[in-house]
């Protein structure tokens, strides 16, 4: 059990590493709980798997970001509708040409070691971390030609070309700001503060006992008055899924993000009066499960075959049976959570095996004597049972329309090499976090510029479409939001019509927390944000 759960965690971690920009912004001004929060108490939480490092600057693995979100602040955080809200930046302006972005920083903020937080920290981090080593930010910040700091509390980004998605990634883990005085002139990757981080966030790093727990304590000098409410947070490492479920059930653990227990256990836990299962707080990630159909395959290169496969799969069944309801059918590679970009009018591939058969016949692949048209391989993402079951569903569903599917299994290193480097596969499954802007998480699956680079979780299908490339490049540098929406809608029409990558589900991750833990889910990037709004309601107040 441990092994499999570990691989699922590893998967989340791996995907996050490959896709995440980071995210935490814990600013509480909004979402005040109706009840008056109570100060004090120790929150026990689960971190799974144990992180390898605690700095979000160089590592975007999921557990690192969960911890770091409590220690660092971003310039902004994201609301449930993904609107940026003030955090370290009190306000910001984007010039009408999109070439200048000005951030006005909060005054009186100090690092955990007491030194003041200033514009110089932001400038140094942008130039030395976001533009160079941060796994996802490089592409978004490369157009920043100059960073000006006219005074201690103003940062002005001068861009050579507009890069609007910047505003979607500057929360605590997407755009973590490092203390310049501890990092300047050091070897960034080996700086000792990577594992005893100093931030400006609501909680101060205290202790990391490897294999057991990570202890954070309340930041008494936090800039948001009265917050955080909790005295301490202990992130416990519990590698066994059954043990996690038991700890949550018994109330030993009050907060557990990122699918800490198997799906089937959730139904049971959700019925308990002392627990809450929450799917909010993941809006900023917007993960989409998809199949990559290798367009270099002799059968899959025919768009009719790809459409037939789309018609042969019942996404409702995948959502209900395979994913236990923790997903909803996706119709576009841009998830519906990205409401302004999502195009509802893309072609639909209704579940219709007969139409699938007709399309396959039309493509010239008739059923042979044994009822089989042709054989394909399928490599499910090797990150746990959910993807394996998705593959088993695919095998049975395609068999019904005469396509034999051979499932293959391997470890993640072999999977990445096979799909993205050797391209020795027919159909693979994976998921990508879309993030608030299609530019960040979605277009990488379709842009031909990634082909040949071997970069994981990019263009797996091998798709090349000149118009799509053109749209992607125009949208990247378009300064007008309306123009970008228009471009992304056209992109979705082509991508869904050509269907090199077949979106299956918009996945719903879940958090399990104690019912008496209030304010634990208060924003759209909550799982990567600080728990500064969380408080423990341990009974009726006397006064």
């Amino acid at each position: 059990m441990t092994t499999v759960r570990l691989s699922r965690r590893a998967f989340l971690a791996g995907t996050s590493a490959a896709t995440l920009l980071g995210a935490t912004g814990a600013l509480p001004a909004f979402a005040q709980p109706a009840e008056t929060p109570k100060r004090g108490g120790t929150l026990t939480a689960i971190i799974q798997p144990e992180p390898v490092t605690l700095t979000p600057a160089t590592n975007t693995a999921q557990p690192t970001q969960v911890i770091a979100g409590n220690i660092f602040d971003g310039l902004v955080y994201y609301d449930f509708d993904l609107t940026p809200r003030p955090s370290l930046a009190e306000r910001w302006e984007v010039a009408s040409d999109g070439l200048t972005i000005t951030f006005h920083l909060r005054k009186g903020v100090t690092w955990h070691d007491g030194k003041p937080f200033t514009a110089a920290d932001v400038k140094w981090t942008l130039e030395n971390v976001w533009k160079t080593v941060h796994p996802r930010n490089r592409a978004l910040f490369e157009n920043v030609a100059e960073t000006q700091t006219p005074d201690e509390h103003t940062v002005i980004l001068k861009l050579s070309r507009p890069s609007l998605p910047i505003l979607s990634v500057i929360n605590a883990v997407g755009g973590p700001i490092l203390p310049r005085h501890l990092y300047e002139g050091t070897d960034l990757l080996n700086n000792p503060y990577n594992n005893k981080p100093v931030g400006t966030g609501p909680f101060v790093f205290k202790e990391w006992k490897k294999g057991e727990y990570i202890l954070l304590e309340r930041n008494p000098n936090y800039w948001d008055p009265g917050k955080p409410y909790l005295d301490k947070i202990v992130f416990r490492v519990i590698t066994d899924a059954a043990a996690r479920a038991a700890a949550i059930e018994k109330g030993e653990v009050l907060y557990a993000p990122f699918n800490p227990v198997p799906f089937r256990d959730v139904e049971r836990l959700a019925k308990l009066p002392n627990l809450k299962v929450e799917t909010r707080g993941y809006e900023w990630l917007s993960p989409v499960l998809y199949l990559d159909l290798n367009v270099e395959n002799t059968h899959l290169k025919d768009v009719r075959v790809r459409r037939a496969i789309a018609h042969a799969l019942d996404r409702e069944a995948i959502a209900k049976v395979v994913w236990f309801g923790y997903g909803k059918p996706a119709i576009s590679p841009v998830p519906s959570t990205l409401a302004s970009f999502f195009d509802d009018s893309v072609p639909r591939y209704a579940f219709d095996p007969r139409k699938a058969e007709a399309l396959l016949d039309e493509a010239g692949f008739k059923r042979g004597a044994d009822g089989t048209r042709f054989t394909l391989t399928h490599d499910p993402l090797p990150y746990g049972d959910d993807y394996r079951r998705t593959g088993e569903y695919l095998k049975q569903a395609l068999k019904r329309v005469g396509i034999e599917v051979n499932l293959r299994a391997q470890d993640s290193a072999a999977f990445i090499k096979r799909v993205y480097v050797d391209r020795d596969f027919d159909i693979s499954s994976s998921y990508n976090a879309a993030f608030p802007d299609p530019q960040i998480g979605v277009v990488r699956e379709f842009w031909s510029g990634w082909l040949g680079t071997g970069t994981p979780w990019t263009n797996g299908s091998g798709y090349r479409n000149a118009r799509v490339d053109e749209i992607i490049q125009s949208a990247a540098i378009a300064g007008d939001p309306a123009q970008r929406v228009k471009l992304f809608k056209e992109f979705q029409q082509i991508a869904v019509s050509d269907v090199p990558t077949l979106p299956l589900l918009e996945l719903k991750f879940f958090t399990v927390h104690a019912a008496h833990l209030k304010g634990a889910v208060a924003q759209g990037d909550q799982v990567y944000a600080g728990l500064k709004n969380a408080w423990i309601d341990d009974g009726p107040r006397q006064n």
Partner: protein
């Protein structure tokens, strides 16, 4: 030493009927044989009773055993018939068990016989190789081989076969060493028989007892190893196997324990059958035991 050698039955001196009779006189032998026969019957009848693919999603998921007469053992989380899975899984388990044990037998017996017969440098070299294999835990070794080669029935069988032979090799070597200097072999050498003839015709038949007993245990452990590999996700995903069913059911153990338990019971029965049979064979083939009886 020579007394024991003399006491060992020669192939001609072990009448088949007597051996079977001795086996059937032992409860462990009888029970083992019956259970094994039942499993073989299950495996043989799978295509007749459940002609459809056992991986097909045929009914509503999470039907408990007895809830629907059409699916007496219920359905799993994907709505697959568990009874069908157990029947078809028996074929996979028996096939892998038998073939992997044969591979082990072949390698183990050959290595042990050559090492024991020739002694000296041959023995030293072969035993170093055997020890090399013995230093690596067989399960981890098999795991590594399957992970590298990709899980499929042939690679899993091969991996189990080539990791399970060292103990058998040592066993056979010890037996051969006992016989090597016995009068039977010395007499054969004096009559001018070749090495191969002596090994195959005179030595191996006299080591059959331990080999047969080991074989039944090897089959049982091969079935267990395959199940463990499948449990860890390294089974052949295109076929249904008992270990794979247990592995898939593990996630829902708290709520729907029957999904992992039923194929688990099948594994227990199969391994138990082979171990009982091994016990029975051991007693039946042991001349000392027979004298005591």
């Amino acid at each position: 030493m020579s007394l024991i050698t003399l006491a060992a039955p020669t192939p001609h001196a072990a009448p088949r009927s007597g051996f079977l009779w001795r086996l059937l006189r032992r409860p462990s032998g009888v029970v083992g044989l019956l259970l094994l026969a039942a499993i073989i019957a299950v495996a043989a009848s799978a295509p007749l009773l459940y002609p459809d693919d056992p991986l097909d999603m045929v009914a509503q998921p999470f039907l408990w055993p007895g809830q629907d007469a059409a699916y007496p053992l219920g359905t799993d989380m994907m709505g697959r018939d568990i009874a069908s899975g157990i029947f078809h899984g028996a074929r996979v388990s028996l096939l892998i068990g038998a073939v992997a044990a044969s591979v082990s037998l072949l390698i183990g017996t050959a290595t042990g016989a050559l090492a024991g017969y020739y002694g000296g440098r041959t023995d030293a070299a072969l035993m170093r190789v055997t020890e090399l294999f013995q230093t690596i835990p067989p399960f981890l070794f098999a795991l590594a081989i399957v992970a590298i080669l990709q899980p499929s029935i042939p690679t899993i069988t091969l991996a189990i076969g080539i990791t399970a032979w060292p103990s058998l090799a040592r066993l056979v070597r010890a037996e051969v060493l006992k016989l090597r200097n016995g009068e039977l072999v010395q007499a054969s050498i004096a009559l001018g028989a070749g090495d191969l003839r002596i090994i195959v015709l005179h030595i191996l038949p006299n080591t059959l007892a331990p080999i047969i007993v080991s074989a039944s245990i090897l089959v049982a452990s091969a079935i267990l190893t395959e199940s463990s590999l499948a449990f860890l996700g390294l089974g052949d995903p295109n076929v249904v196997s008992w270990g794979g069913m247990v592995g898939a059911g593990r996630e829902v153990l708290r709520t729907d324990w029957y999904i992992a338990t039923l194929p688990g019971l099948a594994i227990v029965v199969a391994v138990l059958a082979l171990n009982l049979l091994g016990d029975g064979l051991n007693d039946a083939l042991d001349p000392k035991g027979e004298r005591r009886a």
